[in-house]
């Protein structure tokens, strides 16, 4: 048996700090391509105009180093920790928070985290929400998702009865998008997790947002549902910025797994068009 690979937690702080700046300022290439495709397909002249402004905004952010959106998000961090890694030099959670603290300060990002009742701002955008998995290997894979409040507020979780079946799942997704309307900054991206439990479905819905927009789902059942849901959502007519149009949604990600015989959980995580996520491997 080989010795575990040692990784300093300070390297994780450095990675997270850098990812904060990249994620909030640089629109991912897959999202940019998706805007361009949506602009070509959009029938509404106003909708086309909105998409052109979003591309202009992404260019401006890149040039001026201002964030794409003033809502620089609550930092959601996904960690895949190789089981052959030994973390040294401090507390992992504190190391992630230190990275967030530094990144949000150094890149002039908005601090958007507060106490739920007093609404007093924590001042440094911590604490981050951290989801850790132990996986095979000797690497640490870090993803940073700065999640905006406007789209998160429109997300929903449903605990359907099994009798409602596939049609019930589709209705839950459409009802979520209809209720959200223009609020979550369309064109949106949807992370839909079916099955599992209450907690697990919500995390999987968020994790699905890490996928590339032009990726193909390896699960054929999920891939088919993604296509059907995308078409149905875009028939709602909400359009870019909610001003009317055919491009309400850029992509639906579906994740299906088994659930309890009594349950049919469905979590719908709504993501705005500023679909920010960056990753690093240590």
């Amino acid at each position: 048996m080989s010795a575990p690979r040692e990784v300093q937690v300070s390297a994780i702080s450095d990675a997270v700090a850098g990812l904060c700046g990249q994620a909030d300022i640089e629109l991912p290439a897959d999202v940019r391509r998706s805007f361009e495709q949506a602009m070509a397909a959009e029938e509404s002249p106003v909708g086309k105009g909105v998409l052109a402004r979003l591309l202009e905004n992404a260019d401006l952010a890149q040039d001026t180093r201002l964030p794409i959106c003033q809502d620089c998000g609550l930092a959601v961090v996904f960690l895949d920790l190789g089981q052959d890694v030994h973390l040294i030099g401090g507390d992992l959670t504190e190391a992630v928070n230190e990275g967030v603290r530094r990144g949000y300060k150094d890149y002039y990002l908005r601090k958007s985290v507060c106490h739920p009742f007093s609404r007093a701002n924590t001042g440094d955008n911590t604490p981050a929400v951290i989801h850790t998995r132990i996986v095979p290997g000797d690497k640490v894979h870090v993803w940073l998702v700065p999640k905006g409040g406007g789209s998160e507020n429109m997300s929903k979780i449903f605990l359907l009865t099994p009798a409602l079946g596939l049609e019930g799942v589709k209705k839950a997704v459409l009802d979520t998008v209809i209720a959200a309307g223009p609020n979550p900054c369309p064109p949106i991206i949807l992370g839909v997790a079916v099955g599992g439990t209450f907690d697990d479905a919500a995390v999987r819905a968020k994790r699905s947002l890490l996928r590339e927009l032009d990726s193909v789902n390896p699960d054929p059942e999920a891939a088919k549902l993604e296509e059907e849901l995308l078409a149905a959502v875009n028939d709602l007519g909400i359009g870019p910025a909610g001003l009317g149009g055919r491009m309400t949604c850029l992509k639906v990600f579906v994740d299906i797994r088994p659930c309890h015989i009594a349950s049919l959980p469905v979590a719908v995580n709504v993501q705005c068009h500023a679909a920010r996520h960056k990753e690093a491997v240590l």
Binding site: E43, S44, V46, G47, V50, R53, L54, E56, N57, L60, A61, T64, R65, L66, P67, I68, C69, Q70, D71, C72, Y108, L109, R110, K111, S112, R119, N121, G123, G148, G149, G150, N153, G181, P182, N183, P184, C185, D235, L236, G237, I238, G239, A241, G242, L243, G244, G245, R246, C272, H273, A274
Partner: protein
């Protein structure tokens, strides 16, 4: 037929009454920022007989919490936040002469009624275009509640800030019209 109209603050009944849902507005002049926490304080101040941090009559309020200004810049990214969270306070301010609200997303029934009754409009900026919207802002100064950080009240000077009329004084709603036109 939608048109583009240039307006300068403070706004009059006549300024806002000419606007129709779907028109584009290029807004110039002084506007004020306020989000959830600032609205709560402004309304409480007025109810206690104190002066609000800026004159409400004729004002335009921008629902925004900008990111910090990097060195050499007036302001950071400054796109709109979702407006429905201010619905609890908006009718009270509209009754006191507020003429325009700038944000994104749907407004509630009571806000729409107040806009018709007291002649006010709701204008949408493009959500998530924070770097772009910052380009229309030439001055920014915190004038109240600095302890609220991004939620502090700021006085902004804007030049031709690009906006869409969503709710006009006649009760029309661009979000509803848009869905009717493109839904299938």
């Amino acid at each position: 037929m939608s048109q583009t109209i240039r307006l300068t603050t403070p706004l009059t009944d006549q300024d806002v009454s000419q606007l129709k849902a779907g028109d584009q507005v290029l807004l110039s002049g002084t506007i004020y920022t306020a989000r959830d926490a600032a609205h709560k304080r402004i309304v409480e101040a007025i109810k206690q007989g104190q002066e609000p941090p800026f004159p409400i009559a004729g004002a335009a309020i921008y629902y925004v919490g900008p990111s910090p200004a990097p060195p050499g810049r007036v302001i950071g990214a400054a796109g709109p936040t979702t407006s429905y969270r201010m619905d609890a306070y908006a009718p009270f301010l509209i009754e006191r002469g507020l003429k325009a609200m700038i944000g994104k997303g749907k407004r509630g029934h009571e806000v729409k009624e107040a806009m018709v009754r007291h002649k006010a409009v709701y204008l949408a900026a493009i959500g998530g275009a924070g770097a772009l919207m910052a380009g229309a802002i030439t001055e920014a100064e915190v004038i109240a509640y600095p302890e609220l950080g991004p939620e502090a009240v700021r006085r902004l000077v804007v030049e031709e800030m690009p906006l869409f009329v969503v709710n006009d004084v006649h009760g029309a709603d661009l979000y509803e019209q848009g869905r009717e036109a493109y839904g299938r």
